[in-house]
């Protein structure tokens, strides 16, 4: 019934417009009026409307600033962010001035020079001097913008300080994980081939490698047994053979780790954190950003920070937070305020809700919080070979402490 009504309204509307158009057409034929003859009144009305529209547009813009100025991002909570905001304001000053000036000229000329049959337009084909001026002025202004902008960009993208806090931000559909290095100050190596429910970041330890090889061997053997012993359709056999191939290649990759004489103990004391992560105030933080599946983007708007997380590579972003969460709550007058890390590169259906809270606090509080976070390998003597061996064993998964 509702749909029928909608259709009816549309049909009636179309007929209505058609009738009005016909009346208009017939009456204009009576007056011998042609469509391309715009009467001076109509012309004047449109010219004035353009001018009115301009004021409405300017008013709309100003209304936004008045109404929503407070809703924009609060003062930057990072050191470089303040410079970014200054640069932004500098750009705004130029842009807003040009926006008003050029739109004004456009609409004003349109209004002022509306058609007058008694006047002839001024034949002006070109004027080199004028053109030179308005090529030169934008060039100079843009050069200033470029130089100013690039100087800030270079400062932001500079190498991190030696004593910067290193934190890994690891992304997957649809959440973030943070990883802190332990006493050794080093993040342990990781590989996507070693990812498992108990080792979501794919950290490499000798135990994990062995367990993975055992698993892969078992799966390959299973599949081979199925092919040998069961009566299967060809498609199923193909599928199993494909799987065997895949596992074999995966095993070869894992074997590379095993055969390398590398020391994989750096990850033992890494602390893995979900839900929210903490950073100390007034100390440079160097984020190493990785992804497991698709491209994500680590976006921390309050710190004017953003960097993509790209599978297959590690990206970096450094900043020094300057305002603790508590102080910012006072600034924005909101007790529930939290800094937040968002995903800003479309990554799938729940992209819109891939967030993690960030807590900025004093060094002491930060250290206290960090020490409460569990390490990857629970045992305090994790560095010893015997403890490491146990890590990957299936019956001993409780030892892998992942706070979630």
């Amino acid at each position: 019934m509702e749909k029928l009504l909608i259709v009816l309204v549309i049909v009636l509307a179309v007929i209505g417009i058609a009738q009005i158009t016909r009346v208009y057409k017939l009456s204009s034929e009576l007056r011998k009026k042609r469509e391309e003859d715009i009467s001076p009144t109509t012309n004047r009305v449109n010219a004035n409307l353009l001018f009115v529209f301009m004021f409405l547009m300017f008013g709309f813009f100003i209304w936004h600033i008045v109404e929503y100025g407070d809703e924009l991002l609060p003062v930057s909570a990072s050191e470089h962010g303040v410079k970014v905001d200054n640069l932004l304001n500098f750009n705004w000053a130029i842009i807003i001035a040009v926006f008003f000036a050029v739109n004004f000229l456009l609409f004003y000329f349109a209004k002022k020079y509306a058609y007058d049959p008694n006047r002839k337009a001024f034949y002006l084909a070109h004027n080199n001097k004028l053109e030179l001026i308005w090529t030169a002025i934008p060039s100079v202004v843009l050069m200033i913008i470029i130089v100013y902008g690039l100087s800030i960009w270079n400062q932001i993208m500079d190498e991190p300080a030696e004593d910067a806090v290193v934190i890994e931000l690891y992304s997957k559909q649809f959440d973030w994980t943070a990883r802190y290095p332990g006493e050794d100050g080093k993040l342990g190596e990781a590989s996507f081939t070693l990812i498992s429910p108990t080792n979501p970041l794919g950290l490499i330890t000798d135990g994990v490698i062995d367990a993975k090889i055992t698993d892969l061997n078992a799966e390959i053997a299973d599949n081979q047994a199925s092919i040998a012993n069961e009566v299967l359709p060809d498609s199923k056999v193909n599928e199993l053979e494909k799987e065997i191939g895949m596992r074999t290649r995966q095993k070869a990759r894992v074997m590379n780790f095993k055969e390398s004489s590398k020391d994989f103990t750096a990850s033992y004391d890494d602390r893995i954190v979900k839900g929210e992560f903490h950073i100390p105030v007034n100390k440079e933080v160097s984020f190493q950003i990785r992804s497991r599946d698709v491209i994500h983007s680590a976006y921390m708007p309050h710190f004017r920070a953003q960097m993509n997380a790209v599978p297959g590579m590690t990206t970096r972003f450094n900043f020094k937070p300057t305002i603790t969460t508590d102080s910012m709550r006072t600034v924005v007058d909101d007790e529930d305020f939290n800094y937040v890390l968002l995903c800003n590169k479309v990554c799938g259906s729940a992209h819109y809700n891939m967030q993690m809270n960030i807590v900025v606090e004093t060094e002491e509080k930060y250290q206290e919080w960090l020490s409460q976070q569990k390490t990857f390998v629970k045992d305090d003597n994790a560095a010893t070979k015997s403890a490491a061996d146990k890590v990957g064993e299936k019956d001993d998964e409780r030892k892998i402490a992942v706070k979630n």
């Binding site: 006047r119 690039l150 599946d293």
Partner: protein, 594 residues
């Protein structure tokens, strides 16, 4: 030259023998092909616009039930009238794809390059009528496939119109990256073929088939714009084709161009050694020139309409050509500004900051020249003229915010937020569609031999420009507050609570602007059959297309081709009785060419 003329004169003789199929369907006449492009593009635009209304309903009133969503999307994608979150991404993706490629590339260039190139340079037809026909039918097939992808059970492609892998390569990461993405890639591959056929034809025609006296420096600016657009297309679309092909191979043949170190769906995948960044480079090598492929024809159309309706020469003709060339050249060396935050070397980023901001110079020159053309003019406000003035306004307003996005240090904060959405919708969405509307109103008498209704045109313009600015102005502020684009809803973040009512305002304007297009559609189709019959040169214009007969004939001109003696912008020339002097009028003895 004379040989081709004879051949075409022969064509004219066959005129009567055409069957329905060769006249209306597999036509090789550029005027008919132009109409085919336009009507297909209008259909695609309606679809894309409706998709945008659907997702604006969700963004304005998140989680609320709308019967209309259920009516159109069914229980699969809008159970209880609430938009499914995967479908939301598909809608956004297909809206972008259709608008950018099918409406503003295929539709805009296809319509006006086809119509105006032969008519304005004084040629009987395109260099190859057959390739021209193929170009349209490739376009048609790709449109059908793109629309069909909306009906796939796992959903249409949903990774955004840029379809970055690995998301677009892995159905495990997103169901709509399955069959939906396959259809998207197929459709785009065919679309690229269509675009290349068209562009090659445009270039060859402009270079070889100009009539006597039509020097390159006497070409209307429309033709210059179409010419450079076609060159950009020929140079950049093959790169997208390569990118699409490599993606197809990664998806179906186990290659690893874009994939490496991926663990998804509980499985560590085989491919190792590729990089998604490679795809981004290839995509944006097309993607940025594409912006100008969309924009330049609109600017060309505007140049012509503003000069005609100001009754005044376009100011700085040579500077306008120069700026088109400069924009065309620079557009090839700025693509990295889409990738400042991908982990690309920051120094490389600085190079792209520099080249990108340089584009503002020729753009500024164009804007100033338009405004100076109005100055001391005698301006007639036809609907086409209003849309052209609207275009200059949106081009300036939208272009200015590009300065912020081009500055890598500022891009860190606003990258991929609504600020970007606002910027490119104003500068290339609104501008290009305004140019297209302007072109339709202006050349409708040439296309269909009838006039569109002016009063309805005014109503359409005013609702569209108010709606357009109403939708995209507020988005700047939402973006500056840090709201990312392509989010299904913002209710999970207290920091965006302040913008709830602004999102309602945006959706309101979007619905209004969408409904307003019904006026245009009605006017368009009504006027095709019932509009006032057109005269030969209704706008008192100088260019050659207005010397052809109102009814369409093969070969465009009866008798010999016109000869050109002057540039196309002799409006209100001192010493002339009328305020326009067509290009075919010889210079008088003491007269100087501009």
């Amino acid at each position: 030259m004379s040989a081709t003329m004879d051949v075409h004169a022969g064509h004219a003789a066959y005129h009567e023998k055409e069957s329905f199929v060769t006249k209306y369907i597999f036509s090789q006449d550029h005027k008919m092909i132009s109409k085919q492009f336009l009507i297909t593009a209008i259909f695609m635009a309606i679809v894309a616009m409706m998709l945008s209304v659907f997702f604006r309903l969700q963004l304005g009133w998140p989680g609320e039930s709308f019967g209309i969503l259920n009516t159109f999307l069914g229980d699969r994608w809008a159970p209880d009238g609430i938009l499914d979150r995967s479908m939301y991404l598909s809608l956004v993706t297909i809206h972008g794809t259709i608008m950018v490629f099918f409406v503003l590339t295929g539709g805009l260039s296809g319509t006006f390059s086809n119509l105006l190139i032969p008519l304005q340079i004084g040629a009987r037809d395109m260099a190859s009528g057959f390739l021209n026909m193929l170009s349209y039918w490739f376009f048609f097939v790709s449109s059908v496939i793109m629309i069909a992808s909306l009906f796939v059970e796992t959903g249409a492609a949903g990774g955004g119109w840029t379809i970055y892998p690995p998301l677009s390569a892995l159905p495990q990461a997103m169901p709509s990256s399955g069959l939906g993405m396959t259809l998207w890639l197929t459709s785009m591959a065919i679309f690229i073929a269509s675009s290349l056929l068209g562009s090659l034809n445009y270039i060859v025609t402009i270079l070889n088939l100009r009539t006597k006296g039509m020097k390159m420096t006497r070409l209307p600016l429309t033709i210059w714009a179409f010419f450079i657009t076609a060159v950009l297309g020929v140079l950049s679309f093959p790169v997208l084709f390569a990118a699409v092909l490599l993606l197809i191979m990664d998806r179906s043949m186990g290659t690893a161009f874009y994939l490496s170190d991926i663990y998804v769906g509980g499985e560590a995948l085989d491919p190792v050694g590729g990089s998604p960044i490679l795809y981004e480079h290839l995509f944006w090598f097309l993607g940025h020139p594409e912006v100008y492929i969309v924009l330049l024809p609109a600017l060309g159309i505007t140049s012509e309409i503003i000069a005609t309706n100001s009754r005044k020469p376009i100011f700085g003709y040579r500077a306008m050509i120069g700026s088109i060339l400069a924009i065309g050249f620079l557009s090839f060396i700025v693509w990295g500004h889409h990738m400042f935050l991908t982990g690309m070397n920051p120094f490389l980023g600085s190079v792209f900051v520099f080249t990108t901001l340089l584009i503002a110079i020729p753009s500024a020159v164009k804007a100033f020249n338009y405004i100076t053309t109005l100055w001391k003019g005698n301006v007639i406000f036809t609907p086409a003229m209003l849309f052209s003035i609207g275009l200059v306004s949106t081009f300036v307003t939208g272009g200015l915010t590009g300065i912020i996005l081009a500055d890598s240090a500022l891009d860190i904060t606003v990258h991929d937020t609504y600020f970007v959405v606002a910027h490119f919708h104003i500068v290339m969405g609104l501008s290009a569609i305004f140019g297209m509307f302007a072109g339709v109103y202006h050349w409708f008498p040439k296309m269909f031999g009838r006039m569109m209704n002016t009063k309805l045109g005014y109503v359409h313009f005013w609702l569209t420009i108010v709606g357009g600015y109403g939708v995209f102005f507020p988005m700047h502020f939402v973006g500056l507050a840090g709201a990312p684009r392509r989010y299904y809803q913002y209710t999970d973040y207290p920091m965006f609570d302040g913008f709830v009512d602004l999102n309602v305002i945006i959706s309101g304007f979007a619905i209004m602007a969408a409904v307003a297009q019904a006026i245009f559609l009605f006017n368009f189709f009504y006027s095709i059959w019932k509009g006032q019959e057109a005269v030969k040169n209704p706008w008192k214009s100088n260019t050659l297309e207005w010397t052809t007969p109102v009814e369409h004939i093969h070969g465009n001109w009866r008798g010999p081709l016109p000869e050109v003696h002057r540039w196309p912008y002799d409006y209100s020339k001192p010493g002339k009785e009328k305020d326009f002097v067509p290009q075919t009028v010889p210079l008088s003895d003491d007269e100087e060419e501009h």
